[in-house]
């Protein structure tokens, strides 16, 4: 890997013609070889940011450099340095996996010998050798995503953009993709910019996480740093009799300050950490309050999101989801 530049952005803004301020002043710095998780709900501005960084959408304001090149004035150099698997697995259902690779390698100007060798390598790596001559319409979601990844890697890019690569995949396919992304960063030094709405994905994969909401980065750091900002664990109690929710809240208030919980329960962030749990159980028992459900939560990235935005990440994406292709179509129709 000769290119040791990552991704930098300053004050990146994107306003659509008839739409919202989708990205509203983002500053980013992703180091070479780092896996950066861009976490946020649907409509937060993740995909729009990616479209700008991969040169498919010009920023309204601000600037960005990818692999050392300016995304506005040095687009061809940026594209030569990056691979991208955008939000939809943009594949032709009528072509086979091998035909997709032939098309992609030809577009990158590879010789016939290199095309064949590289296609074989990538099919092997993503476990699609046996299915290479089947039409893509017969592939599962996981197989499509793996082919998508292989296509993004044909020209050995130094930076890889993955826009929600595991959305809709079963857990096995998701784990397989995570393993390949980790391997790319660890063994080949590829810088990975990964958008996701899955907390566990950002937690498991990313060296650093940027949390985006309404077009702005609301928190950034390693998963451990971010969770440490929230600090203490929470405990949630759901009373057997929902009428006793207020009484449960009063008991829990002795141990910490209230925080968000499911509608039928109450929750507090514990003042003294996990050590309070036994005391809470004793207090509930002493007050003769029957409990249907009691759970201790360690701080998660969802707690970070909640602390920074006042909303839970789960279900926060109530805006209509706009796919990257749809965003471009809207902008260029």
């Amino acid at each position: 890997m000769t290119d040791r530049h990552g991704i930098e952005a300053q004050g990146l803004v994107r306003v659509f013609k008839k739409g919202p301020r989708a990205v509203d002043g983002i500053d980013l710095r992703v180091e070479p070889g780092e896996i950066y998780g861009f976490l946020g709900p649907n409509g937060a501005g993740k995909s729009t940011t990616v479209l700008m960084l991969v040169t498919l959408l010009p920023p309204t304001e601000g600037s960005a450099r990818v692999a050392g090149y300016d995304v506005v004035s040095e687009g061809p150099h940026v594209r030569a340095s990056i691979g991208a698997a955008l939000q939809e697995a943009a594949l032709d259902p009528l072509l086979t996996g091998r035909e997709h690779l032939r098309l992609q390698t030809t577009m990158h100007g590879m010789s016939a010998a290199d095309r064949k060798q590289r296609s074989g390598e990538l099919l092997e790596r993503v476990g699609l050798t046996q299915a290479a001559d089947r039409k893509v319409r017969t592939y599962s979601g996981g197989m499509k995503r793996r082919l998508d990844l292989a296509l993004a890697l044909v020209h050995s890019p130094s930076i890889l953009f993955l826009d929600e690569p595991t959305t809709g995949l079963d857990i096995q396919s998701r784990l397989a993709l995570w393993a390949e992304v980790e391997r790319l960063a660890r063994d080949e030094g590829v810088t990975v910019f990964l958008t996701t709405q899955y907390l566990e994905e950002a937690d498991a994969l990313a060296d650093r996480v940027g949390i985006i909401d309404h077009g702005k980065i609301v928190a950034e750091g390693s998963p451990a740093e971010l969770k440490a900002q929230v600090g203490r664990p929470t405990v949630e109690v759901v009373p057997a009799d929902r009428e006793e929710r207020d009484r449960a809240a009063a008991i829990l208030a002795r141990f910490g300050e209230p925080c968000g919980s499911a509608a039928e329960g109450v929750a507090v962030r514990l003042r003294s950490g996990e050590a309070d749990l036994a005391e809470i159980v004793r207090a509930l028992d002493a007050e003769n309050l029957k409990v249907e459900h009691l759970q201790l939560h360690q701080p998660s990235l969802d707690d970070v999101f909640l602390a920074k935005t006042g909303r839970s990440l789960e279900g926060a994406g109530d805006e209509e989801e706009v796919t990257p292709a749809a965003e471009l179509a809207l902008d260029r129709a």
Binding site: L94, L151, R332
Partner: protein
């Protein structure tokens, strides 16, 4: 043309053909529907050949020009719809992220249309000859006919590509089909212009470029070498192609507005 560019064009043209071949409806309708319509017209309108001044005594020979235009329309719609689907699914974004030149995409797409145009022309011509139509311009005329039919397909194909690139919508492309068909029906498709008795219809058919495309193909079948008809036919086909390719190129530039 560099090797890389040629490889890109060839691969994209191959994809266009492969995609068409793997959607049987995209082959069957452009081949079968025009021939069915030819059979119906030839059976029902044969009496028209007895009109004084009708240029031939075989209505099949007279009407054989129509499938070439109808086939081009079908191929155009199918190719345009496929391109719109590429936009909607994000496949075009994938291509835009490669060093592919925009003109390679358009040329490749039109290359696929050329291949389909040649196949369709050979089938229509073969069926015509099989049912007894005599090609008055001979074997050289068959070659010219195929070249003209392919040029018409490229022109219409570029219009379909323009609609796809401008709107990004397969539905919008398909909505052009009835518009094109109106042009076809308001032409000299079913009757020579000098025998059309309704004044407004004759005026519209005379102003309609599709009349001259049909008359050029028809002249090769039933007349031989009619220089005026061929000049007008090739002239209009060329003009439509130039304008449509220019429009499609501009729309592609907007659609592929990568920095």
């Amino acid at each position: 043309m560099s090797n890389v560019f040629a490889g890109q064009v060839l691969t994209l043209a191959q994809r266009s053909v492969v995609r068409t071949v793997r959607q049987p409806a995209n082959i069957v309708f452009p081949l079968v529907f025009p021939l069915l319509l030819l059979a119906v017209n030839a059976g029902g309108l044969d009496a028209a050949t007895r009109l004084p001044g009708f240029p031939t005594n075989s209505f099949v020979a007279f009407a054989l020009a129509i499938p070439f235009i109808q086939g081009a329309l079908f191929a155009t719609m199918n190719a345009g719809t496929d391109l719109a689907r590429d936009i909607q699914t994000g496949f075009l974004n994938r291509l835009a992220l490669t060093p592919m030149r925009g003109i390679a995409l358009l040329t490749g797409q039109l290359g696929g249309i050329v291949a389909m145009g040649v196949i369709q022309s050979l089938v229509y011509l073969g069926v015509g000859l099989a049912v007894g139509v005599r090609l008055e311009s001979g074997p050289a005329g068959a070659l010219v006919l195929i070249v003209l039919a392919v040029l018409i397909s490229i022109g219409f194909g570029a219009l379909g590509a323009f609609a796809a690139l401008r709107t990004g919508s397969g539905e919008a492309v398909q909505s052009l089909f009835p518009v094109f068909f109106v042009f076809l029906f308001l032409s000299s498709m079913a009757m020579p212009r000098n025998l059309i008795e309704i004044d407004w219809f004759r005026a519209v058919a005379t102003a309609n470029p599709v009349s001259y495309l049909i008359e050029a193909i028809r002249s090769l079948i039933i007349v031989g070498w009619d220089e005026e008809a061929l000049a007008l036919g090739f002239g209009f086909a060329f003009a439509i192609t130039v304008v449509a390719v220019a429009l499609a190129s501009m729309a592609l530039r907007t659609r592929l507005a990568r920095s």
